[in-house]
């Protein structure tokens, strides 16, 4: 979903065998930014899977996590989860997990991001990095 406000790259970490997708979200300082089509998590398995956001972890406080007043990662598609949103307020996760949504074979979940950036946030700097673990469990 790379574009002006969202950029993604992907790499394989040979030391640990992890696939790491990095998603950069640009906010507007002093304002609210809602990105409704941030990331797609696709079910490439041959069976339906349960999909959820399992963890939101503050990975790196680069130039000040407190500048990001609010972050929400929401499963927009498919709908139906009772808790579809993981939220972070002032650098601390207040709701780190969502409920499961079911993805059929070939279906994908669309994740949206909402951020509120402090008016005094530094311009063109990355204030914070979060690790978001997306869990896919075969149903």
């Amino acid at each position: 979903m790379s574009g002006t406000f969202v950029m993604a790259d992907w790499r394989y970490d040979p030391g640990t065998g992890l696939d790491v997708t990095r998603v950069c979200v640009a906010g507007v300082y002093g304002n609210v930014a809602d990105i409704t089509n941030g990331l797609r998590a696709c079910n490439r398995y041959n069976i339906p899977v349960e999909n959820r956001i399992a963890d939101v972890l503050l990975l790196q406080n680069i130039t000040g996590a407190h500048y990001i007043r609010y972050v929400a990662v929401k499963i927009l598609e498919p709908p139906g989860a009772a808790d579809s949103k993981a939220t972070v307020r002032d650098g601390a996760a207040v709701d780190a997990a969502t409920d499961y949504v079911i993805l059929r074979r070939g279906q994908y979940a669309i994740l949206g991001v909402g951020v509120v950036v402090d008016a005094y946030a530094p311009y063109y700097k990355t204030p914070v990095a979060y690790q978001i673990n997306i869990e896919m469990v075969p149903q």
Partner: protein, 409 residues
């Protein structure tokens, strides 16, 4: 008339006969048996002694007396005592005997002896026998039948260990396999002070094995050598020479940044280890501090040891849990300073102290973030040099097995 003479002669002869028998037959009860008083034979000899008739071709060593236990055997047929003497002090016993039977005689060749040496067996009755020892000096540790010859190239003090399985360790790092494992190290024409320390696996079936000093387990023998370019180290399978106890100080603590940065919901934390338990081992040459420490996502098994040569060492072994956490800093060991890569080792220089590390990269910043390590990491072998003289691990140039052969002239 002749009857009277005959009677007189008989009266004289009979006591004379008894006296003659008494004087010439100290065996008393056995006086009327025929045969020699005793026999001297060759006893149990190692294969490297060449024997011809009653001549033994023995070796002498410059390092220690060379014992040949039960090398000779005296078979005694009468209840008497045989006197033994040697022209070179090769026999400690001065006499054997008592009841009839066979008596083993130990022979010990003194260090550095060369030439011929007689072992004489005598008896007051005039019986005598002798064995000739022909002794050749050899540069070999007494009693051993084989040795490993290890050619090392390097400089400075090196701590060499040999495990029972024949693994050669230098500063605890496995370097080579040698054919003979033993406790006697001969370097530069001298027998080295050696230590004995047991090691056990802290967890089974890890590759490479995760070992730590222990009070039980398999034995490693260790010694210090001061290398100067290419030199040869001889390792003999023999009992350890007794080591005087050195004055040893406590092993130094590891002062370094150890841990990884982990993400948490409230912010990144530095996952530092907390010491669980510590055991101190004292060998003849070193004091070893073995510590197990735990953190959130790993366990650290570490031992540090001091040495009498001014350097000290450590071995660190990490066991990380399987997580999917990302991290921006992995610090397996960072005492400060810049990390440099020199050859196959990592080097930190902090003030006058140089840390030499062999193993995985001890310090890494990940940008972009990388996954936290998982599972058992390769061990980090460390040598810390406050003297500024050490120049790294030596190279094992050659390993050879030699077997002592008998000699004859």
């Amino acid at each position: 008339m002749w009857r009277e003479e005959a009677a007189r002669a008989l009266l004289l002869l009979l006591p004379t006969l008894v006296f003659i028998i008494a004087f010439t037959s100290p065996g008393g009860d056995y006086a009327f048996r025929a045969g020699p008083l005793a026999e001297v034979a060759v006893g149990q000899l190692p294969y490297y002694v060449y024997v011809s008739n009653k001549t033994l071709h023995l070796y002498s060593s410059p390092y220690a007396p060379w014992p040949y236990p039960k090398a000779l055997e005296v078979k005694l047929f009468y209840p008497t005592t045989i006197l033994i003497s040697s022209t070179c002090g090769a026999v400690a016993a001065s006499s054997v005997g008592g009841a009839p039977g066979s008596y083993p005689v130990d022979v010990v060749v003194l260090p550095g002896f060369q030439g011929d040496c007689w072992v004489n067996f005598t008896h007051p009755s005039g019986w005598r026998d002798a064995v000739l020892l022909r002794v050749k000096p050899v540069d070999w540790y007494p009693g051993a039948t084989e040795r490993a010859v290890v050619t090392l190239n390097g400089s400075g003090w090196q701590f060499v260990q040999v495990g029972q399985d024949g693994t050669l360790y230098i500063w605890e790092r496995p370097m080579a396999q040698i054919p003979v494992a033993g406790c006697v190290f001969v370097y530069n024409k001298s027998v080295l002070l050696a230590e004995t320390q047991r090691y056990r696996e802290v967890a089974p079936n890890i590759k490479p094995p995760a070992v730590a000093p222990s009070s039980s387990g398999s034995v490693r023998y260790g010694a210090f050598i001061k290398l100067d370019r290419s030199s040869q180290l001889y390792i003999y399978k023999a009992d350890c020479p007794t080591t005087p106890r050195l004055n040893l100080s406590e092993p130094p603590p590891l002062r370094a940044e150890i841990g990884v940065i982990l993400p948490t919901p409230t912010g990144p934390v530095f996952d530092a280890p907390v010491v669980n338990n510590t055991v101190i081992f004292t060998t003849g040459l070193r004091t070893i501090n073995y510590t197990e420490a735990a953190a959130r996502i790993y366990r650290l098994y570490v031992y540090t040891y001091n040495t009498p040569v001014g350097l000290w060492g450590a071995v660190l072994r990490y066991n990380f849990a399987l997580t999917t956490l990302l991290t921006v800093k992995i610090s397996l060991f960072r005492p400060g300073g810049e990390l440099q890569r020199v050859g196959d080792v990592w080097i930190y220089r902090v003030g006058n102290v140089t840390y030499w590390i062999y193993g995985p990269q001890p310090y890494r910043l990940c940008e972009p973030p990388c996954g936290a390590p998982a599972g058992w990491q390769e061990p980090l072998y460390m040598v810390v040099d406050p003297t500024g003289q050490w120049r790294g691990w030596p190279k094992v140039i050659a390993v050879r097995r030699e077997v002592l052969q008998p000699w004859r002239s």
